[in-house]
Symmetry: C2
Subunit: 222 residues, 2 copies
DNA sequence: GTCTATAAAGTGATAGAC
DNA sequence: GTCTATCACTTTATAGAC
Protein backbone atom coordinates (compact mmCIF):
# COMPACT_ATOMS: atom_id res chain seq x y z
CA UNK A 1 0.00 0.00 0.00
CA UNK A 2 0.98 3.69 -0.14
CA UNK A 3 1.93 4.35 -3.74
CA UNK A 4 2.95 7.96 -4.25
CA UNK A 5 1.10 11.15 -3.51
CA UNK A 6 2.17 14.57 -2.35
CA UNK A 7 0.19 17.65 -2.86
CA UNK A 8 -1.19 20.25 -0.53
CA UNK A 9 -2.85 17.35 1.28
CA UNK A 10 -5.86 19.47 2.06
CA UNK A 11 -4.51 21.00 5.25
CA UNK A 12 -6.20 24.20 6.20
CA UNK A 13 -4.48 27.14 7.81
CA UNK A 14 -5.53 26.13 11.29
CA UNK A 15 -3.05 23.59 12.56
CA UNK A 16 -3.94 23.55 16.24
CA UNK A 17 -7.68 23.28 16.79
CA UNK A 18 -9.26 25.66 19.33
CA UNK A 19 -8.46 24.33 22.76
CA UNK A 20 -11.78 23.26 24.24
CA UNK A 21 -13.94 22.84 21.15
CA UNK A 22 -15.35 19.39 20.42
CA UNK A 23 -12.96 17.52 18.13
CA UNK A 24 -13.54 18.29 14.48
CA UNK A 25 -14.42 15.56 12.02
CA UNK A 26 -10.86 15.64 10.71
CA UNK A 27 -9.40 15.19 14.18
CA UNK A 28 -11.84 12.44 15.07
CA UNK A 29 -10.80 10.57 11.93
CA UNK A 30 -7.12 11.07 12.69
CA UNK A 31 -7.56 9.78 16.22
CA UNK A 32 -9.49 6.71 15.18
CA UNK A 33 -7.04 6.06 12.34
CA UNK A 34 -4.08 6.17 14.71
CA UNK A 35 -5.71 3.68 17.04
CA UNK A 36 -6.84 1.26 14.35
CA UNK A 37 -3.61 1.49 12.35
CA UNK A 38 -1.73 0.65 15.54
CA UNK A 39 -3.98 -2.31 16.31
CA UNK A 40 -4.66 -3.74 12.85
CA UNK A 41 -2.14 -2.19 10.51
CA UNK A 42 -2.60 0.03 7.50
CA UNK A 43 -4.11 -2.72 5.39
CA UNK A 44 -5.91 -4.42 8.22
CA UNK A 45 -7.92 -1.37 9.25
CA UNK A 46 -10.63 -0.54 6.72
CA UNK A 47 -12.17 2.85 6.13
CA UNK A 48 -15.48 1.45 7.30
CA UNK A 49 -14.12 0.34 10.68
CA UNK A 50 -12.30 3.62 10.96
CA UNK A 51 -15.20 5.95 10.17
CA UNK A 52 -17.53 3.94 12.38
CA UNK A 53 -15.10 4.22 15.29
CA UNK A 54 -14.78 7.95 14.68
CA UNK A 55 -18.55 8.35 14.48
CA UNK A 56 -18.40 10.00 11.05
CA UNK A 57 -19.66 9.12 7.64
CA UNK A 58 -17.72 6.79 5.39
CA UNK A 59 -17.36 9.43 2.68
CA UNK A 60 -15.75 11.87 5.10
CA UNK A 61 -12.31 10.33 4.71
CA UNK A 62 -12.18 11.00 1.02
CA UNK A 63 -13.68 14.44 1.45
CA UNK A 64 -11.17 15.55 4.08
CA UNK A 65 -8.04 13.65 3.07
CA UNK A 66 -8.52 12.61 -0.55
CA UNK A 67 -7.62 8.95 -0.06
CA UNK A 68 -6.69 6.40 2.55
CA UNK A 69 -3.05 6.82 1.60
CA UNK A 70 -3.07 10.55 2.26
CA UNK A 71 -4.79 9.86 5.57
CA UNK A 72 -1.88 7.62 6.54
CA UNK A 73 0.58 10.39 5.79
CA UNK A 74 -1.44 12.85 7.82
CA UNK A 75 -1.42 10.49 10.80
CA UNK A 76 2.36 10.56 10.68
CA UNK A 77 2.61 14.26 10.06
CA UNK A 78 0.38 15.18 12.98
CA UNK A 79 2.74 13.58 15.50
CA UNK A 80 6.12 13.82 13.81
CA UNK A 81 6.01 17.54 13.12
CA UNK A 82 5.77 18.27 16.83
CA UNK A 83 7.99 15.40 17.97
CA UNK A 84 10.91 16.23 15.74
CA UNK A 85 10.59 19.95 16.36
CA UNK A 86 10.96 19.26 20.08
CA UNK A 87 13.96 17.05 19.45
CA UNK A 88 15.65 19.74 17.42
CA UNK A 89 14.90 22.40 20.06
CA UNK A 90 16.28 20.18 22.80
CA UNK A 91 19.43 19.57 20.77
CA UNK A 92 19.88 23.25 19.98
CA UNK A 93 19.45 24.16 23.64
CA UNK A 94 22.28 21.80 24.60
CA UNK A 95 24.98 23.65 22.71
CA UNK A 96 24.36 26.90 24.57
CA UNK A 97 26.69 26.46 27.51
CA UNK A 98 29.16 23.65 26.88
CA UNK A 99 29.71 20.89 24.32
CA UNK A 100 27.03 18.29 25.14
CA UNK A 101 27.75 14.79 26.41
CA UNK A 102 26.55 11.61 24.72
CA UNK A 103 23.90 11.15 27.38
CA UNK A 104 22.59 14.66 26.89
CA UNK A 105 22.25 14.18 23.13
CA UNK A 106 20.44 10.89 23.65
CA UNK A 107 18.17 12.61 26.15
CA UNK A 108 17.26 15.21 23.54
CA UNK A 109 16.27 12.42 21.16
CA UNK A 110 14.51 10.05 23.54
CA UNK A 111 12.68 12.24 26.03
CA UNK A 112 10.35 13.97 23.57
CA UNK A 113 9.25 10.58 22.22
CA UNK A 114 8.52 9.29 25.69
CA UNK A 115 6.60 12.41 26.63
CA UNK A 116 4.53 11.92 23.52
CA UNK A 117 3.86 8.34 24.62
CA UNK A 118 2.19 9.57 27.78
CA UNK A 119 0.38 12.55 26.34
CA UNK A 120 -2.81 12.09 24.36
CA UNK A 121 -2.62 8.41 23.42
CA UNK A 122 0.77 8.91 21.84
CA UNK A 123 1.92 5.39 22.70
CA UNK A 124 -0.46 4.22 20.02
CA UNK A 125 1.48 6.35 17.60
CA UNK A 126 4.76 4.70 18.56
CA UNK A 127 3.19 1.41 17.57
CA UNK A 128 2.19 2.89 14.24
CA UNK A 129 5.77 4.03 13.81
CA UNK A 130 7.09 0.57 14.66
CA UNK A 131 4.80 -0.87 12.01
CA UNK A 132 6.12 1.60 9.48
CA UNK A 133 9.66 0.38 10.21
CA UNK A 134 8.67 -3.24 9.78
CA UNK A 135 6.81 -2.46 6.55
CA UNK A 136 9.97 -1.65 4.59
CA UNK A 137 7.67 0.22 2.24
CA UNK A 138 9.75 2.38 -0.08
CA UNK A 139 7.17 5.12 -0.50
CA UNK A 140 6.60 5.42 3.22
CA UNK A 141 10.33 5.42 3.90
CA UNK A 142 10.79 8.15 1.33
CA UNK A 143 8.04 10.21 2.88
CA UNK A 144 9.67 9.93 6.30
CA UNK A 145 13.14 10.59 4.92
CA UNK A 146 12.08 13.66 2.93
CA UNK A 147 10.18 15.20 5.81
CA UNK A 148 12.21 14.23 8.85
CA UNK A 149 15.56 13.01 7.52
CA UNK A 150 17.27 16.22 8.61
CA UNK A 151 16.62 15.34 12.25
CA UNK A 152 18.37 12.00 12.00
CA UNK A 153 21.25 13.61 10.10
CA UNK A 154 21.68 16.28 12.76
CA UNK A 155 21.77 13.74 15.57
CA UNK A 156 24.09 11.49 13.60
CA UNK A 157 26.51 14.39 13.19
CA UNK A 158 26.48 14.90 16.96
CA UNK A 159 27.15 11.22 17.58
CA UNK A 160 30.01 11.28 15.07
CA UNK A 161 31.57 14.22 16.93
CA UNK A 162 31.21 12.49 20.29
CA UNK A 163 32.50 9.12 19.06
CA UNK A 164 35.41 10.01 16.79
CA UNK A 165 37.04 6.62 17.29
CA UNK A 166 34.28 4.92 15.27
CA UNK A 167 34.38 4.62 11.50
CA UNK A 168 31.35 5.95 9.64
CA UNK A 169 30.27 2.42 8.83
CA UNK A 170 30.62 1.32 12.43
CA UNK A 171 28.68 4.33 13.67
CA UNK A 172 25.79 3.74 11.24
CA UNK A 173 25.63 0.11 12.32
CA UNK A 174 25.30 1.07 15.96
CA UNK A 175 22.78 3.83 15.34
CA UNK A 176 20.68 1.37 13.35
CA UNK A 177 20.77 -1.13 16.21
CA UNK A 178 19.89 1.53 18.76
CA UNK A 179 17.02 2.73 16.58
CA UNK A 180 15.64 -0.78 16.44
CA UNK A 181 15.87 -1.16 20.20
CA UNK A 182 14.22 2.17 20.96
CA UNK A 183 11.40 1.74 18.46
CA UNK A 184 10.68 -1.74 19.75
CA UNK A 185 10.76 -0.63 23.37
CA UNK A 186 8.61 2.44 22.91
CA UNK A 187 6.00 0.65 20.83
CA UNK A 188 5.55 -1.73 23.75
CA UNK A 189 5.73 1.03 26.29
CA UNK A 190 2.01 1.50 26.78
CA UNK A 191 1.82 -2.13 27.79
CA UNK A 192 4.44 -2.20 30.51
CA UNK A 193 2.90 -2.14 33.95
CA UNK A 194 3.66 0.78 36.15
CA UNK A 195 3.63 -0.09 39.82
CA UNK A 196 0.92 1.86 41.58
CA UNK A 197 3.31 3.22 44.20
CA UNK A 198 5.33 5.03 41.53
CA UNK A 199 4.12 8.31 40.06
CA UNK A 200 3.74 8.50 36.34
CA UNK A 201 6.39 11.16 36.11
CA UNK A 202 9.01 9.23 38.04
CA UNK A 203 8.17 6.10 36.05
CA UNK A 204 8.83 7.99 32.85
CA UNK A 205 12.01 9.45 34.24
CA UNK A 206 13.20 5.94 35.14
CA UNK A 207 12.39 4.75 31.64
CA UNK A 208 14.22 7.65 30.01
CA UNK A 209 17.28 6.84 32.09
CA UNK A 210 17.05 3.15 31.18
CA UNK A 211 16.90 3.85 27.48
CA UNK A 212 19.65 6.46 27.60
CA UNK A 213 22.05 4.19 29.46
CA UNK A 214 21.31 1.28 27.14
CA UNK A 215 21.76 3.41 24.04
CA UNK A 216 24.94 4.98 25.37
CA UNK A 217 26.40 1.55 26.13
CA UNK A 218 25.48 0.25 22.68
CA UNK A 219 26.93 3.27 20.90
CA UNK A 220 30.15 3.70 22.81
CA UNK A 221 31.34 0.22 23.77
CA UNK A 222 34.99 -0.42 22.78
CA UNK B 1 -6.24 -11.25 11.41
CA UNK B 2 -5.27 -14.65 12.81
CA UNK B 3 -8.10 -15.59 15.10
CA UNK B 4 -7.50 -18.96 16.74
CA UNK B 5 -6.82 -22.33 15.18
CA UNK B 6 -4.70 -25.28 16.10
CA UNK B 7 -5.29 -28.73 14.86
CA UNK B 8 -3.15 -31.24 13.05
CA UNK B 9 -2.48 -28.46 10.54
CA UNK B 10 -2.38 -30.99 7.74
CA UNK B 11 1.29 -31.82 8.03
CA UNK B 12 2.17 -35.16 6.57
CA UNK B 13 4.81 -37.49 7.93
CA UNK B 14 7.43 -36.26 5.50
CA UNK B 15 8.99 -33.14 6.98
CA UNK B 16 12.03 -32.80 4.77
CA UNK B 17 11.18 -33.18 1.09
CA UNK B 18 13.40 -35.50 -0.98
CA UNK B 19 16.58 -33.64 -1.68
CA UNK B 20 16.61 -33.04 -5.41
CA UNK B 21 12.95 -33.36 -6.30
CA UNK B 22 11.20 -30.34 -7.76
CA UNK B 23 9.55 -28.33 -5.00
CA UNK B 24 6.15 -29.68 -4.05
CA UNK B 25 3.04 -27.55 -4.34
CA UNK B 26 3.08 -27.10 -0.59
CA UNK B 27 6.66 -25.89 -0.58
CA UNK B 28 6.09 -23.57 -3.52
CA UNK B 29 3.19 -22.01 -1.65
CA UNK B 30 5.24 -21.64 1.52
CA UNK B 31 8.08 -20.01 -0.39
CA UNK B 32 5.84 -17.54 -2.17
CA UNK B 33 3.95 -16.83 1.05
CA UNK B 34 7.18 -16.04 2.89
CA UNK B 35 8.26 -13.62 0.20
CA UNK B 36 4.91 -11.86 -0.14
CA UNK B 37 4.25 -11.72 3.60
CA UNK B 38 7.66 -10.10 4.01
CA UNK B 39 7.00 -7.56 1.28
CA UNK B 40 3.31 -6.78 1.77
CA UNK B 41 2.34 -8.12 5.18
CA UNK B 42 -0.14 -10.79 6.16
CA UNK B 43 -3.14 -8.70 5.23
CA UNK B 44 -1.50 -6.99 2.29
CA UNK B 45 -0.66 -10.21 0.46
CA UNK B 46 -3.74 -11.87 -1.00
CA UNK B 47 -4.16 -15.56 -1.74
CA UNK B 48 -4.51 -14.71 -5.41
CA UNK B 49 -1.17 -12.88 -5.57
CA UNK B 50 0.38 -15.66 -3.56
CA UNK B 51 -0.84 -18.60 -5.63
CA UNK B 52 -0.04 -16.79 -8.87
CA UNK B 53 3.54 -16.19 -7.67
CA UNK B 54 3.84 -19.83 -6.66
CA UNK B 55 2.44 -20.99 -9.99
CA UNK B 56 -0.30 -23.04 -8.37
CA UNK B 57 -4.05 -22.92 -8.36
CA UNK B 58 -5.92 -20.59 -6.05
CA UNK B 59 -7.76 -23.47 -4.39
CA UNK B 60 -4.49 -25.19 -3.49
CA UNK B 61 -4.00 -23.06 -0.37
CA UNK B 62 -7.21 -24.20 1.20
CA UNK B 63 -6.64 -27.76 0.11
CA UNK B 64 -3.15 -28.00 1.60
CA UNK B 65 -3.38 -25.68 4.58
CA UNK B 66 -7.05 -25.28 5.37
CA UNK B 67 -7.04 -21.48 5.53
CA UNK B 68 -4.85 -18.45 5.08
CA UNK B 69 -4.38 -18.26 8.83
CA UNK B 70 -3.01 -21.79 9.04
CA UNK B 71 -0.72 -21.02 6.15
CA UNK B 72 0.72 -18.13 8.15
CA UNK B 73 1.45 -20.44 11.06
CA UNK B 74 3.10 -22.96 8.77
CA UNK B 75 5.37 -20.26 7.36
CA UNK B 76 6.61 -19.61 10.87
CA UNK B 77 6.84 -23.24 11.81
CA UNK B 78 8.92 -24.18 8.80
CA UNK B 79 11.74 -21.83 9.80
CA UNK B 80 11.41 -21.64 13.57
CA UNK B 81 11.46 -25.37 14.21
CA UNK B 82 14.91 -25.63 12.70
CA UNK B 83 16.18 -22.26 13.92
CA UNK B 84 15.30 -22.80 17.56
CA UNK B 85 16.49 -26.38 17.53
CA UNK B 86 19.90 -25.15 16.38
CA UNK B 87 19.93 -22.50 19.08
CA UNK B 88 19.18 -25.06 21.76
CA UNK B 89 21.85 -27.43 20.43
CA UNK B 90 24.41 -24.64 20.38
CA UNK B 91 23.52 -23.69 23.94
CA UNK B 92 23.67 -27.29 25.16
CA UNK B 93 27.05 -27.78 23.51
CA UNK B 94 28.46 -24.81 25.44
CA UNK B 95 28.03 -26.32 28.86
CA UNK B 96 30.13 -29.36 28.02
CA UNK B 97 33.53 -28.09 29.05
CA UNK B 98 33.27 -24.96 31.15
CA UNK B 99 30.58 -22.51 32.24
CA UNK B 100 29.91 -20.40 29.13
CA UNK B 101 30.64 -16.69 28.85
CA UNK B 102 28.06 -14.05 27.95
CA UNK B 103 29.51 -13.75 24.46
CA UNK B 104 29.27 -17.50 23.92
CA UNK B 105 25.63 -17.60 24.94
CA UNK B 106 24.84 -14.69 22.64
CA UNK B 107 26.68 -16.47 19.86
CA UNK B 108 24.47 -19.51 20.33
CA UNK B 109 21.42 -17.32 19.95
CA UNK B 110 22.52 -15.03 17.13
CA UNK B 111 24.61 -17.21 14.81
CA UNK B 112 21.86 -19.67 13.83
CA UNK B 113 19.60 -16.75 12.87
CA UNK B 114 22.28 -15.19 10.73
CA UNK B 115 23.06 -18.47 9.03
CA UNK B 116 19.39 -18.79 8.23
CA UNK B 117 19.48 -15.30 6.75
CA UNK B 118 22.05 -16.40 4.21
CA UNK B 119 20.68 -19.82 3.44
CA UNK B 120 17.65 -20.26 1.24
CA UNK B 121 16.13 -16.78 1.25
CA UNK B 122 15.97 -16.81 5.02
CA UNK B 123 16.47 -13.05 5.28
CA UNK B 124 12.94 -12.75 3.94
CA UNK B 125 11.82 -14.76 6.90
CA UNK B 126 13.50 -12.40 9.33
CA UNK B 127 11.41 -9.63 7.83
CA UNK B 128 8.29 -11.72 8.37
CA UNK B 129 9.37 -12.19 11.96
CA UNK B 130 9.93 -8.45 12.40
CA UNK B 131 6.41 -7.86 11.11
CA UNK B 132 5.05 -10.34 13.60
CA UNK B 133 6.71 -8.37 16.39
CA UNK B 134 5.25 -5.09 15.19
CA UNK B 135 1.80 -6.64 14.79
CA UNK B 136 1.26 -7.07 18.53
CA UNK B 137 -1.34 -9.66 17.53
CA UNK B 138 -2.33 -11.68 20.59
CA UNK B 139 -3.06 -14.89 18.74
CA UNK B 140 0.21 -14.79 16.86
CA UNK B 141 2.13 -13.98 20.03
CA UNK B 142 0.47 -16.89 21.78
CA UNK B 143 1.34 -19.22 18.94
CA UNK B 144 4.99 -18.17 19.12
CA UNK B 145 5.05 -18.33 22.91
CA UNK B 146 3.46 -21.78 23.08
CA UNK B 147 5.75 -23.25 20.46
CA UNK B 148 9.03 -21.50 21.07
CA UNK B 149 8.75 -19.85 24.46
CA UNK B 150 10.95 -22.50 26.06
CA UNK B 151 13.91 -21.28 23.99
CA UNK B 152 13.64 -17.72 25.23
CA UNK B 153 13.20 -18.97 28.81
CA UNK B 154 16.32 -21.12 28.57
CA UNK B 155 18.44 -18.28 27.27
CA UNK B 156 16.97 -15.89 29.83
CA UNK B 157 18.01 -18.29 32.59
CA UNK B 158 21.56 -18.29 31.24
CA UNK B 159 21.64 -14.51 31.12
CA UNK B 160 20.34 -14.34 34.69
CA UNK B 161 23.15 -16.65 35.82
CA UNK B 162 25.78 -14.58 34.00
CA UNK B 163 24.43 -11.23 35.20
CA UNK B 164 23.51 -11.83 38.85
CA UNK B 165 23.88 -8.14 39.69
CA UNK B 166 20.74 -7.30 37.68
CA UNK B 167 17.24 -7.49 39.12
CA UNK B 168 14.76 -9.62 37.22
CA UNK B 169 12.95 -6.52 36.05
CA UNK B 170 16.16 -4.89 34.91
CA UNK B 171 17.23 -8.02 33.05
CA UNK B 172 13.90 -8.34 31.23
CA UNK B 173 14.12 -4.71 30.18
CA UNK B 174 17.54 -5.22 28.66
CA UNK B 175 16.64 -8.47 26.95
CA UNK B 176 13.62 -6.76 25.42
CA UNK B 177 15.78 -3.93 24.11
CA UNK B 178 18.34 -6.36 22.71
CA UNK B 179 15.58 -8.37 21.04
CA UNK B 180 14.30 -5.23 19.36
CA UNK B 181 17.75 -4.32 18.12
CA UNK B 182 18.52 -7.79 16.76
CA UNK B 183 15.17 -8.24 15.05
CA UNK B 184 15.44 -4.83 13.45
CA UNK B 185 19.01 -5.43 12.31
CA UNK B 186 18.41 -8.89 10.92
CA UNK B 187 15.26 -7.93 9.09
CA UNK B 188 17.29 -5.32 7.26
CA UNK B 189 20.23 -7.61 6.83
CA UNK B 190 19.51 -8.71 3.30
CA UNK B 191 19.67 -5.08 2.26
CA UNK B 192 23.07 -4.15 3.67
CA UNK B 193 25.69 -4.05 0.98
CA UNK B 194 28.52 -6.49 1.26
CA UNK B 195 31.74 -5.16 -0.27
CA UNK B 196 32.79 -7.36 -3.16
CA UNK B 197 36.29 -7.88 -1.74
CA UNK B 198 34.90 -9.62 1.34
CA UNK B 199 33.78 -13.22 1.21
CA UNK B 200 30.26 -13.97 2.27
CA UNK B 201 31.47 -16.07 5.15
CA UNK B 202 33.77 -13.43 6.59
CA UNK B 203 31.06 -10.81 6.13
CA UNK B 204 28.71 -12.94 8.17
CA UNK B 205 31.38 -13.54 10.77
CA UNK B 206 31.92 -9.78 11.08
CA UNK B 207 28.21 -9.24 11.46
CA UNK B 208 27.91 -11.92 14.14
CA UNK B 209 30.71 -10.26 16.08
CA UNK B 210 29.09 -6.84 15.70
CA UNK B 211 25.78 -8.03 17.03
CA UNK B 212 27.34 -10.01 19.86
CA UNK B 213 29.41 -7.09 21.06
CA UNK B 214 26.47 -4.71 20.86
CA UNK B 215 24.19 -7.11 22.72
CA UNK B 216 26.82 -7.84 25.36
CA UNK B 217 27.35 -4.12 25.96
CA UNK B 218 23.62 -3.50 26.20
CA UNK B 219 23.06 -6.39 28.59
CA UNK B 220 26.00 -5.92 30.92
CA UNK B 221 26.62 -2.18 31.18
CA UNK B 222 26.86 -0.98 34.82
C1' DG C 1 -19.82 19.65 4.99
C1' DT C 2 -22.53 15.47 5.40
C1' DC C 3 -25.29 12.03 3.70
C1' DT C 4 -27.08 7.72 0.77
C1' DA C 5 -26.41 4.79 -2.81
C1' DT C 6 -23.70 2.45 -5.69
C1' DA C 7 -19.96 1.39 -8.82
C1' DA C 8 -15.96 -1.53 -9.79
C1' DA C 9 -12.81 -4.43 -8.11
C1' DG C 10 -10.86 -7.45 -4.79
C1' DT C 11 -11.30 -10.82 -0.77
C1' DG C 12 -11.25 -15.80 1.37
C1' DA C 13 -13.47 -19.88 0.80
C1' DT C 14 -15.85 -23.95 -1.39
C1' DA C 15 -18.61 -27.12 -4.50
C1' DG C 16 -17.99 -30.23 -7.88
C1' DA C 17 -15.90 -31.88 -12.37
C1' DC C 18 -11.81 -34.20 -13.84
C1' DG D 1 -4.24 -33.45 -6.18
C1' DT D 2 -5.68 -29.92 -9.39
C1' DC D 3 -8.82 -27.32 -11.82
C1' DT D 4 -12.90 -23.87 -13.03
C1' DA D 5 -16.54 -21.37 -11.59
C1' DT D 6 -18.78 -19.11 -8.34
C1' DC D 7 -20.70 -17.57 -3.72
C1' DA D 8 -21.05 -14.23 -0.32
C1' DC D 9 -18.78 -10.40 1.27
C1' DT D 10 -15.70 -6.48 1.84
C1' DT D 11 -12.75 -3.15 -0.12
C1' DT D 12 -11.78 1.97 -1.72
C1' DA D 13 -13.74 5.48 -4.03
C1' DT D 14 -17.23 8.62 -6.08
C1' DA D 15 -21.61 10.76 -7.96
C1' DG D 16 -25.21 13.41 -6.64
C1' DA D 17 -29.03 14.75 -3.27
C1' DC D 18 -29.55 17.67 0.71
Amino acid sequence: MLKRSFESSGRTTEIHPPVSSPASTKDRILGAAEQLFAQRGFDGASLRQLTTAAGVNLAAVNYHFGSKEKLVEEVFRRRLDALNARRMEALARLGDEHPPTLEEVLDAYIRPALELSHDNHGSLFMRVLARAFAEHDDTLRQFLSENYGHVLRQFTAEFARLLPQLSKQELYWRIDLVTGALTHAMSGFGIIQRKSDVSEQSHREQTVQHLIRFAAAGLSHP
